[in-house]
């Protein structure tokens, strides 16, 4: 991994994911099942990958997203920093 890349904060990750999915700010908490999210599709996944790139964050490997079933799994995949921001 590029040493300059830093994990996003949990708040920022969830806020941007809210936006990608067209949800009100603060909707996602982390425990949600991906299959229950209305706009979770390949387009949202690609947006998520681009989001990580744009934030110079830990890249999200598309082949590993297949194993994710909750938002929390995505947070782990992106090595999201859960320490207080």
């Amino acid at each position: 991994m590029d040493q300059n890349r830093k994990p996003m904060t949990r708040e920022k990750f969830l806020a941007q994911m809210d936006e990608i999915l067209g949800l009100r700010p603060g909707t996602l908490k982390g425990h949600e099942k991906l299959e229950d999210l209305k706009n979770w599709d390949s387009t949202a996944l690609i947006s998520l990958i681009v989001m990580a790139e744009d934030n110079n964050s830990v890249p999200i490997a598309p082949d590993q997203v297949v194993g994710c079933s909750t938002v929390a799994d995505l947070l782990r995949l992106a090595q999201v920093d859960v320490s207080p921001s």
Binding site: Q16, E19, I20, L21, G22, N39, D41, S42, T43, I46, S47, I49, V50, M51, E53, D54, P62, D63
Partner: protein
């Protein structure tokens, strides 16, 4: 590429700007879409995307850019790499979708077979023709069976070069093969009116091949383009669709000082203006003038809006290096009035809507004022560096056209002649004397294939003298022109000052002994010339020839067509009580003995009761 995107200029949404980066655009897509869908009067269109790769991302971006142009798409998407099978095997879902537009999103990855190394030139040419035939069979079937407009990608270049620099010279190279195919695609486009190229060969060069292609996205999602590249691609396709619907801008309104030349003409004098090759900034102004002149040559109307003394302003164009001359401008508003006021006058003088104007000024305060007070006018953020002005205009695709037709090229001449007509008019005792002196001649006839492009263009951009503001695609116009169930009329008008071109269109639906006028429009450039009387006379002739006894006029009020609210009353129609939604219906009995209403227009061609297919 720093994907810098359109600015919206539509009414209450004027503050909403599409973001300037692909990442922001993708993140905000849902909320942007929600906002854009709030616009009034969106034009619906059906677009089938036939992909040689996955297209979900393309569809999402295209939807945003079309909505930003006031066009609301619904989509059909082929399965991955099913672009060919869907057409050739007649996928019923595609046929039932009845697309207005078919966008074939293929790239170099969809070439079925590249030439072998050391293959002879003759064999390479056969390969090119074989590949061309494969694509042509799709296009012909789409045209024949769906009648849809086709937007076809040409070919980008692969980012890897197995032959190194020999890719540029060897006939059997992939680069040569793709360039030959692009030339064949272009040739096809030149000879088929319902076929437009989406030039990804140019776009990929502009973006840069390394950014155009994204390994992660190809191997994981089979996206032929990176998300970054998808943005300019969608913007380009949206610009093509916009042009087909006649939503491109018509007029470029320019400031003078520090916009067309460096310096202030009133203070510095013409001899001290910064303009010409002997100065780096002067050369940039010269190049911008050349770009503006090129726009004018292809039909964009030019206007000046400057706070200056008029003598000084005109003197600026006498600079020996100035490419633009005073006579290149169809409107010249040079005064000390607020610029929004002058721009309103320009629109009024040219008889075009404010939404047809693009305003370029180096002064951000003037830009902000115009953007605030005239939200319909497009005001690109050109900055203060003249070397970027042309790029700012290009980026927004304001003046995209689907075809350059002769009427476009003559447009500046029409408006310049209008100025002559106005001054000429002041010398007459009354208006009738003026009209008689114009020696007007009209050609009015049923739709003819040679004019279908122009007719569709007028239908999709005329707002003011337009009784129903109904929009038709080229395919619909073509189909109506061949359908005996319709009466179609176009009108051209010429006068002593020149040819005004094709200025009026009428479509009537015939049922039994009645014709209902689905469409009647006229270009505002010939208002108050009694051209509408000439058109009505021709319609009555058609009715008499076909034994039609009743004409039903339809008026659908819109924000912009109030000028024709009493049009049918003026032609002695009777208002019917029955209405359907906003539709007002008017009735006219065709008399056996009809007195021509036209007093000053001589008809050059007899209206024949025929259709374009005859």
């Amino acid at each position: 590429m720093g994907s810098e995107i359109n600015t919206l200029h539509s009414g209450s949404l004027k503050a909403l700007r599409l973001p300037s980066s692909a990442a922001d655009l993708m993140r905000q897509r849902q909320s942007l879409k929600t906002e854009l869908l709030k616009q009034a009067n969106l034009i619906p269109t059906r677009i089938a995307i036939l992909g040689g790769s996955t297209t979900a991302e393309v569809k999402g971006m295209l939807e945003l850019f079309l909505l930003a142009q006031g066009i609301q798409p619904s989509f059909y998407e082929s399965g991955y790499n099913r672009y060919s099978e869907d057409v050739l095997f007649g996928n019923p879902d595609l046929w039932n979708f009845k697309p207005d537009v078919v966008f074939i999103h293929t790239t170099w990855r969809n070439i079925s077979q590249f030439p072998e190394v050391m293959e002879s030139e003759t064999a390479v040419e056969q390969d090119v023709q074989r590949e061309m035939a494969r694509f042509e069979s799709l296009w012909e079937k789409i045209h024949l069976e769906m009648g849809a407009l086709i937007i076809q990608n040409n070919f980008d270049l692969p980012h890897l070069r197995p032959l190194g620099n020999l890719e540029a010279s060897e006939s059997f190279s992939r680069v040569n093969f793709l360039q030959r195919l692009n030339a064949e695609f272009a040739k096809y486009a030149r000879s088929h009116s319902r076929f437009l190229i989406n030039d990804i060969h140019y776009l990929s060069a502009q973006v840069g091949l390394n950014a155009w292609y994204g390994r992660t996205y190809w191997y994981n999602f089979h996206m032929a383009l990176s998300p970054t590249a998808t943005v300019p691609l969608a913007q380009n396709v949206a610009a093509i669709v916009k042009s087909v619907y006649g939503k491109s801008k018509k007029c470029l309104v320019l400031d003078l000082d520090n916009t067309l030349w460096g310096g202030v003409i009133g203070d510095d004098g013409v001899q001290n203006l910064i303009l010409g090759r002997d100065h780096p900034v002067g050369e940039a102004f010269l190049d911008f003038q050349r770009y503006v002149k090129d726009l004018q040559r292809r039909g964009v109307i030019l206007a000046v809006c400057s706070k200056n003394e008029i003598e000084n302003a005109k003197e600026g164009f006498s600079h020996p290096d100035s490419i633009l001359k005073v006579e290149d401008f169809s409107a010249f508003k040079v005064n000390w009035n607020p610029k929004p006021e002058s721009i309103r006058e320009i629109a009024s003088e040219l008889n075009i809507g404010l939404d047809s104007l693009v305003f370029v000024d180096d002064n951000p305060a003037e830009r902000a004022l115009v953007a605030d007070q005239l939200p319909e006018v497009a005001v690109p953020d050109v900055g203060a560096d003249v070397s970027r002005f042309a790029e700012a205009l290009e980026r927004e695709h304001y003046f995209e056209v689907d075809k350059v037709v002769q009427d476009d090229l003559n447009r500046s001449a029409y408006y310049n002649a209008n100025g002559q007509r106005s001054s000429y008019q002041s010398g007459f005792r009354d208006y009738d004397e003026f009209l008689a002196s114009l020696e007007m001649t009209a050609e009015i006839a049923s739709f003819s294939s040679v004019y279908l492009e122009r007719i569709t263009q007028l239908i999709n951009k005329t707002n003011q003298f337009n009784l129903t503001t109904k929009r038709y695609t080229s395919a619909e116009v073509e189909s109506i022109s061949r359908d005996p169930g319709f009466i179609t009329l176009y009108g051209r008008l010429a006068d002593r000052f020149g040819d005004n071109g094709l200025v009026s269109v009428m479509i009537g639906r015939v049922a039994d002994d009645t014709v209902e006028l689905d469409l009647w429009l006229m270009s505002c450039r010939v208002l108050d010339r009694e051209m509408e009387f000439a058109m009505f006379d021709a319609l009555v002739e058609q009715c008499q020839a076909r034994g039609i006894g009743k004409i039903v006029g339809v008026y659908i009020p819109s924000k912009k067509n109030k000028m024709v609210a009493r049009h049918y009353a003026g032609l002695d129609f009777t208002r019917l009580n029955e209405t359907s939604g906003d539709r007002q219906l008017w009735h006219y009995d065709v008399p056996q003995a009809y007195s021509m209403r036209t007093r000053f227009i001589c008809r050059a061609a007899q209206t024949l009761p025929t259709t374009a297919s005859d």
